[in-house]
């Protein structure tokens, strides 16, 4: 079959999921509330949540004034419902921040009312604050 893959489809009572929390990507077998196949306890929590109320971390960029490049990478500090990720990204499209920005600085207090803040994931100095000679070689000795 063209690209057919076995997904988390129901197979009797049992469902199979891939835990996405870490690179191990464990295969989880779920017959709620039993979860097997996880290499660590987080897999169980993930599976049960995934089947009832799945959540994801959102990452995107927002526009910045006074810096180059003029995009600032941001993330949610915590997770929001999976179905809200697209809406969240669209809401952040409208946000403009002014440089300088510090890593961890709160950009939005509460995204879409889920009680989860959005923070900057890097420092972005204002263009005017950048050293004029970035590639200076120290004097020898």
């Amino acid at each position: 079959m063209d690209g057919e893959r076995t997904m988390g489809g129901a197979r009797g009572e049992e469902r199979r999921l891939t835990c996405v929390l870490c690179p191990a990507g464990c295969d989880l077998m779920v017959t709620a509330p039993e979860v097997t196949g996880g290499r660590c306890p987080k897999g169980r929590d993930y599976a049960l949540k995934e089947l009832t109320a799945p959540t994801r971390t959102l990452t995107t960029t927002v526009r910045v004034e006074g810096a180059k490049p003029d995009r600032l990478p941001v993330r949610t500090l915590g997770e929001i419902p999976k179905e809200a990720v697209r809406r969240g990204v669209r809401a952040l499209d409208a946000v403009v921040v002014v440089a300088p920005v510090r890593l961890g600085q709160v950009i939005v207090d509460d995204l879409l009312g889920f009680g989860v803040p959005v923070v900057a994931t890097r420092d972005l100095p204002a263009t005017r604050d950048l050293p004029a000679t970035p590639g200076r070689i120290a004097r020898d000795g």
Partner: protein, 468 residues
């Protein structure tokens, strides 16, 4: 032209180069300089705005820029000099290696140092390398280029995209483009199994209902000016398109995610021996290449799936360079190992360098060979005596990649020694897949019985590591 004297030059300020520079400073190397062609440190991580980095080293799911900051932030206080906007053009090996650098501010300068670490990362396979027939229209990009466009420059490459290849960057970009309002029609993978990590298929494709078509490829790109569509077709076991399975897909953008190739222009010029399988330098237990004093780490050596391993490799290379400099100061280079302390090893003048490209014969190299179901193992050779003399908390770190997926796999490193074969390390992996590297550590004391050759084998119980 001005010449600057240093103890160690690191070429590339990505995660590999940063970890190497920090480790070398910690090990007491006085003058360490990182040369980076970009205007900031961090390498490719700066454009990887998604999360999932640093699980092993920090037990967190950091974004690329956050991970980069963990290392870049320590650089100034560690006393590492960084030269940004500066491109290394050439590495000339010698008793003191010379690195020719073209800097935005400095112009053309030479750095001279007894030790150099190559940490230039990798580059993407392009359409030309894939030989896709058709027009040469605008709108064909590599996944990394699209990542830069979208995440750094805030541009949208098109309206409707197809993705060729299911490598991780392509999967990540499928999700990213979808979130930015670009319709991703599907991902086409010529192989019967996906190229990227399973978790990326789940969280990037399945989450957004993007189909993955395995054993399918693009056979024609339609133009002429801007991409107007592609022809896709199923392929047979020999990856030849099957007549009659062609289908036209409307799109204005083609994103190519067909793998990465270590960046080794400079290494080649320096006469470093390259491994035809990894396409990176042949390295030893301290990540020294075949040219003494020239080290390599990160994606230059082989393409890594996890940045944590890249940083770990950087640390090994940084410590290795420090060890080399100490040996050199003691007049013991290009001959015996530091592990053979007390043994007077004299070979030519201090700091003598073997003919570039020629594997120096004076060391007793213990070759490391891929055995059953192993595509490659890095390092390709070790100085077993030297490694055996290191403290137990500094094991030899091996990375290998399997050829075929499998379940319940036994990963075994076997050493040949005068007393017979010895198991140096063994671990059980639940599943092994070609895209995922397997990391194995060998304790120094296990090498003590005079190991002369090492083989890596992966023996799986079940066949299908892909069955999810």
């Amino acid at each position: 032209m001005k010449t600057h004297e240093r103890d160690l030059i690191v070429i590339g300020g990505g995660p590999a180069g940063l970890a190497a520079a920090l480790a070398a400073r910690e090990a007491g190397v006085p003058r360490v300089t990182v040369v980076e062609r970009d205007h900031e440190l961090g390498g490719i991580l700066q454009q990887c705005i998604h999360d999932g980095f640093g699980n092993f080293l920090f037990r967190e799911r950091l974004t690329g820029p956050e991970y980069a900051a963990r290392f870049a932030g320590r650089i100034p206080e560690a006393g590492v000099e960084t030269v940004l906007d500066a491109m290394a053009l050439e590495v000339r090996p010698g008793p003191e290696h010379e690195v020719l650098v073209s800097g935005a501010e400095s112009g053309l300068v030479t750095f001279r140092a007894p030790a150099v670490i190559l940490a230039m990362g990798c580059r993407e396979r392009t359409r030309a390398q894939l030989l896709i027939p058709g027009h040469r229209p605008a709108g064909v990009f590599t996944a990394g280029t699209v990542q830069r466009y979208v995440n750094i420059e805030g541009l949208r490459p098109g309206r409707r995209a197809v993705i060729l290849g299911s490598g991780d960057i392509g999967l990540i970009m499928a999700r990213r483009l979808t979130l930015e309002g670009v319709e991703v029609e599907g991902v086409y993978e010529i192989m019967p199994h996906p190229g990227g990590l399973t978790r990326n298929i789940v969280q990037c494709l399945d989450d957004y209902g993007i189909p993955l078509h395995l054993s399918t490829t693009i056979t024609f790109i339609h133009g002429p000016k801007r991409v107007q569509g592609v022809t896709v077709a199923r392929v047979d076991a020999d990856r030849r398109p099957i007549p009659g399975t062609e289908r036209h897909v409307d799109c204005d953008t083609v994103v190519i995610s067909a793998g990465l190739i270590p960046e080794n222009e400079l290494s080649r010029g320096a006469g470093v021996a390259l491994d035809p399988v990894t396409r990176g330098p042949v390295v030893d237990d301290r990540l020294e290449t075949t040219v003494p004093g020239l080290f390599a780490c990160g994606n230059v050596v082989h393409v890594h799936d996890l940045v944590d391993y890249v940083s770990m490799g950087g640390t090994i290379a940084g410590r290795g360079a420090a060890e080399y400099l100490a040996e050199r100061a003691a007049g013991r280079t290009a001959a015996g190992g530091a592990g053979a302390a007390g043994e007077p090893v004299v070979a030519g003048e201090p700091g003598a360098v073997a003919e570039p490209g020629v594997v120096d014969a004076k060391r007793e190299w213990c070759p490391v060979e891929p055995g059953e179901n192993v595509a490659y193992v890095v390092p390709q050779r070790i100085d077993a005596r030297r490694a055996a003399g290191r403290p137990q908390d500094r094991p030899v770190q091996f990375f290998l990649r399997v050829r075929e997926p499998g379940r319940s796999a036994d990963v075994t490193m076997t050493g040949r020694s005068p007393g017979g074969d010895v198991v140096l390390a063994h671990r059980r992996e639940r599943a092994v897949r070609p895209p995922e590297m397997v990391a194995v550590k060998v304790r120094p004391d296990s090498l003590a019985p005079g190991v002369t050759a090492i083989r890596a084998d992966v023996r799986a119980k079940g066949g299908d590591g892909d069955g999810r």
